[in-house]
Amino acid sequence: MAKLTLMFENRLVKEVPIGSRPVGIGRSPDNDLPVDNLAVSNYHARVYAEAGRLVVEDLDSLNGTFVNDLRVERATLHDGDSIWVGKHHIKVDASGDTTTLSDTGKKAVAAPRINETMMLDTKARRDALQQAAAMGERTQFAAGRQKVPTLVVLSGNTDQTEYVLTNKLTVIGKSKMATVRLKGWFKPELAAQINQRDDGYYLGPGDKVPAINGAAIPGPVRLNEGDTIEVSGLRMNFIFRD
């Protein structure tokens, strides 16, 4: 069975198993893991098992709950993770628990081979989704961190100084229908284009070959935050706005 070990500066404070009931963490003494520190809220967080995985949930604490280095509202726990509340941390031991996920977080969920297209609607399929969602939660930080991809114009003649990328396809050019509209004589209708794909935003050529950080790109290249894009006398920065 999985267990949680409350630690303070390498000293073991208390150890509790995780059963069917949630494990309460907080300053109030009636918690399963009481943490005597003013930085910790009375009822700070809780840990429970759900659909074969361990979940930590922050209970709107003032100073937050951290898993490893990330502040979380809710996150799936893996063997070896550390939950931080104030200056205390809680080690997660799920080694005896075969149903929790392996620690890699990068592997596809092992499941029977599926050839037929199907919707996730039976129980087995729901479980598969839940496992996947659990892995997804690792990258889902506390609310308010949603980031918007944005092009900031550094120099050049355009109709706006900043563009938020909302479409699957963003056209840069003189065309009336271009998102990033170039102004001036001899500018191409379609200078370059940006395609939003599952793994990021790709800049590709139009009638011109654009450059990323000074290097010309003949075919689509994925943009990284902070990249400088140059095309047809226009310079822009690709960033994620909060």
Binding site: M118, M119, L120, L129
Partner: protein, 279 residues
């Protein structure tokens, strides 16, 4: 814009029935593709219902523009985008109702990827893991997001695209027509440029044929009907594990204006010879 199109659907080399379905409605420049799912023959029923419902709604709204638009649509969308999105909502409802009415049909569903071209504006409505691509200046750009589990995992940074391609969970959809009475439809508008090539295809193509191969085929074959045949043939040569469908649409700039008249001379008579579509 001058529009020429062609499409092919094929059962593949492993399956015994074809659950894919597509329709090209030339006078409207409407293109609809659907991939059905569900046991027995129900996948075929579902995809046919999806295509039928969407085409019917779009045709009716052409004759009666006052028809209701369903669900909330952003005011900035064009009339056609709203109507296409409404049509997908309607298709979902009809498949859902049919599945509920007949217990043996429970679980039937369908993907849909639909494109409607009006002048230089392209409207897309999409649910599921069929895809729309736009080939422009040699770049093959995906206009739709797969509503599949693995694609969602890539978006969340859990899988890399390469890992997703190897995953055994590729067939698991998070969204499809017919599963719920309400559905979220992805809709978007794009501006078309001369020489753009639009491709609608089912996952039977994209799982067998790589994107560079698709781009190469679309560039090498100037005839859309032959290009779609060639793509289906490639998918079958490389396994043909699933039904495979490809619809290819060429958008050619209309040569008009004094400059092209000077270059090419008046060409109003010969314009549509050899073209299947056009407007």
């Amino acid at each position: 814009m001058q529009i020429v199109s062609g499409g092919v659907t094929n059962v593949g080399r492993v399956r015994t029935n074809n659950e894919d379905c597509f329709r090209i409605v030339e006078p409207l420049n409407l293109f609809v593709l659907s991939d059905g799912m569900g046991g027995e023959a129900h996948g075929e029923v579902a995809s046919a219902m999806a295509v039928e419902a969407i085409v019917k709604h779009c045709q009716e709204t052409e004759n009666d523009p006052a028809m209701t638009i369903f669900a909330d649509m952003p005011a900035t969308w064009s009339e056609k985008t709203k109507r296409l999105s409404s049509a997908v909502h309607l298709a979902n409802k009809s498949i859902y109702d049919a599945a509920q009415a007949n217990p043996t049909r429970r679980g039937m569903g369908a993907t849909v990827t639909a494109a409607w071209i009006d002048g230089t504006r392209l409207s897309i409505a999409h649910v599921g893991d069929s895809r729309a691509y736009l080939l422009r200046n040699g770049n093959l750009q995906q206009l739709t997001s797969d509503h599949s589990l693995v694609a969602e995992q890539v978006r969340r940074g859990i899988l890399t695209p390469a890992e997703a391609e190897r995953s055994e969970m590729q067939s698991v959809l998070l969204r499809a027509l017919g599963a719920h009475p309400e559905i979220e439809v992805d809709s978007e508008e794009h501006t078309l440029f001369g020489n753009d090539v639009l491709l609608l295809c089912s996952d039977g193509l994209t799982r067998m044929v790589t994107e560079p191969e698709i781009a190469g085929t679309l560039q090498a074959e100037p005839d859309p009907a032959k290009a779609s045949e060639r793509l289906v043939q490639l998918a079958n040569e490389q396994g043909g594990a699933d039904n495979v469908t490809a619809v290819v649409v060429h958008i050619d700039s209309e040569r008009k204006g004094w400059f092209s008249w000077l270059r090419g001379g008046p060409r109003n008579t010969a314009q549509s010879i050899g073209s299947a579509g056009g407007k």
